[in-house]
Amino acid sequence: MSQTNSATRDRSLVRGAAEAVALIRPGATLMVGGFGLVGAPLTVIEALCESPDARDLTVISNNLGEPGRGLGRLLLEGRVRKAIGSYFTSNPDVVRAHAEGRLEIDLLPQGTLAESIRAGGAGIGGFYTKTGLGTLLGEGCEERVIRGERYLFRESLHADVALVRARVADELGNLVYSKTARNFNPDMATAADLVIAEVDEIVPVGALDPEAIVTPHLFVDHLVLSTTARGAGK
C-alpha cells in the first residue's frame, strides 16, 4: 500500500478480524450487512464466533444467515439474544430458536427496516410510512394522516457496531461495493457508533473515482481484509 496521506501514515485503519471484533462488548447491538449471505461480512462474522465477549447480542440484519453459515453460525453458537430483520423463515434454525424461546424476534417489512437504518444514520428520529398499515406488523404503531393518507410511525434504528462488506476500500476507508452485495451495507455503515468494513482489496488514496464512492470514509472506523471467497456461503 502506498502512503500518500498523513492521516493514513499516522494511523492505518487495517485490523485483523479478531482484533476488530474484540471491540464488541457483551450485550452489544450489531448491524450486519448482507441479503442472506450475499454481501455479508463472513470473515468478520467467523471471528465474532470465536470472540468470548460476543454474547447476548442484538443483531439487526435482513436475515440470520443460512443454517450454520454466516449469522446462522453465530446463532448456533448461542450468541444472539434478539434479531431485528425482515425475513427469518429461510433459516430453520432461527424458527426453532424462536419456538424454543431462545431468540427474540422483531420483524419489520424490508423497506421499513432499510429506512429505519438509513434514518438512524441520518439523525432522523423516526418517520411515517404506509407500509404495514392495517396488518399484523402495524399493530401498536401510531397512525397519522398526512395530506389525506394514512401512515404509520416508525422509530429509527441505531447500533453500537456495524459490520459491513464492501468490495474495495481506499486507505482512508472510502468504500465501493459489488453489484447486489451492496444491499444494506451502505445504510448500516452510517448508523452505528463503530463501523468495521470487510473488504477484498485496499487501494491507495486517490485510486477510487470520487463520483463513484458509495460510502465516504468518515463513516468507516476499521478495515478488515476478507479471507472468505465471495459466494463461499452459497
Partner: protein, 224 residues
C-alpha cells in the same frame, strides 16, 4: 416449475406494457420474465438493489454477488444500475416501480391479498411484500386458482393475515383473470377451455362478470 405455473406466468404477460418497470415476486411471478416476448423492452427491478435484471446465467457465469430477491443468480442488462436497500425501497414505496407481480395465498372480494403469513404460525418473515403492495403503481397477482387442497384462494374475506389494505389491480390464475374495479372483483377473461361455471364453483368470493372476449368461451369445455 410446473406447467400450470408457467401457464399462469404467460397469462400475466399481456398486462405488462413495453417499457414498464416491473418487480417480480418470488415463485410464479419470477417465471413471468421467461415469457416476456421482448424482454429487452421491460425493466426488471429487484428490491435487493438492481434495476435491469437479466436472464439466469449459465452455471459457469454465476456471480455470487449478483442475485435477485429470491437469492438466485441473475445477470444485469446493459443500462442496469445497483443501489442500496434504502434507495431500492425508496423507489418502491415512492411509486416509481410501475408494476409488481406478486403471489398470493388468498385474495378477498375487494381485491386485498394475504401472501406473507399463515394464521396461528409464528410470524417470522415478510421481506418486501408489504412495501411492494403499498408502493407499486399497479399490482398484479399471479396465483393458482385454488390451493393445493382444492379450496378457493379467492374468498369473501381473508382468513390469513392481510399484506396491506391496498387492493391489487389484476388477479391472474391459470383459469381466469379478474380486475379490481371500484372495490369489486370483475371477471374479464377465461382461459381456453375454462367455463364460467368452473370459475363460479372454485371462487368463494362474489364477482361481476364482464368478459372481454365472451365469444371465445361459448363452447368452452370443463377445466381439466
Amino acid at each position: 416449475m410446473s406447467d400450470v405455473q408457467n401457464r399462469i406466468a404467460a397469462r400475466v404477460v399481456p398486462h405488462i406494457p413495453p417499457g414498464a418497470v416491473v418487480n417480480l415476486g418470488i415463485g410464479i411471478p419470477t417465471l413471468v420474465a421467461d415469457h416476456l416476448p421482448d424482454a429487452d423492452a421491460v425493466f426488471l427491478q429487484t428490491e435487493n438493489g438492481l434495476l435491469g435484471v437479466g436472464p439466469t446465467p449459465a452455471p459457469e457465469d454465476v456471480d455470487p454477488d449478483l442475485v435477485h430477491a429470491g437469492k438466485q443468480p441473475v445477470t444485469a442488462r446493459p443500462g442496469a444500475s445497483y443501489f442500496a436497500s434504502s434507495a431500492s425501497f425508496g423507489m418502491i414505496r415512492g411509486g416509481h416501480v410501475g408494476i409488481a407481480v406478486l403471489g398470493a395465498l388468498q385474495i378477498d372480494a375487494q381485491g386485498r391479498i394475504a401472501n406473507w403469513a399463515l394464521p396461528g404460525k409464528p410470524v417470522l418473515g415478510v421481506g418486501g411484500a408489504m412495501d411492494l403492495l403499498v408502493g407499486a403503481k399497479r399490482v398484479i397477482v399471479a396465483t393458482t386458482h385454488t390451493a393445493k387442497d382444492g379450496s378457493a384462494k379467492i374468498v369473501a374475506e381473508c382468513t390469513f393475515p392481510l399484506t396491506a389494505l391496498r387492493p391489487v389491480d389484476v388477479v391472474v390464475t391459470e383459469a381466469a383473470t379478474f380486475t379490481v374495479e371500484n372495490g369489486e372483483l370483475v371477471l374479464v377473461d377465461l382461459a381456453d377451455g375454462v367455463t364460467l361455471d368452473w370459475v363460479r364453483e372454485h371462487t368463494a368470493a362474489p364477482f361481476r362478470t364482464a368478459l372481454r372476449n365472451p365469444a371465445r368461451h361459448e363452447e368452452s369445455i370443463d377445466h381439466a
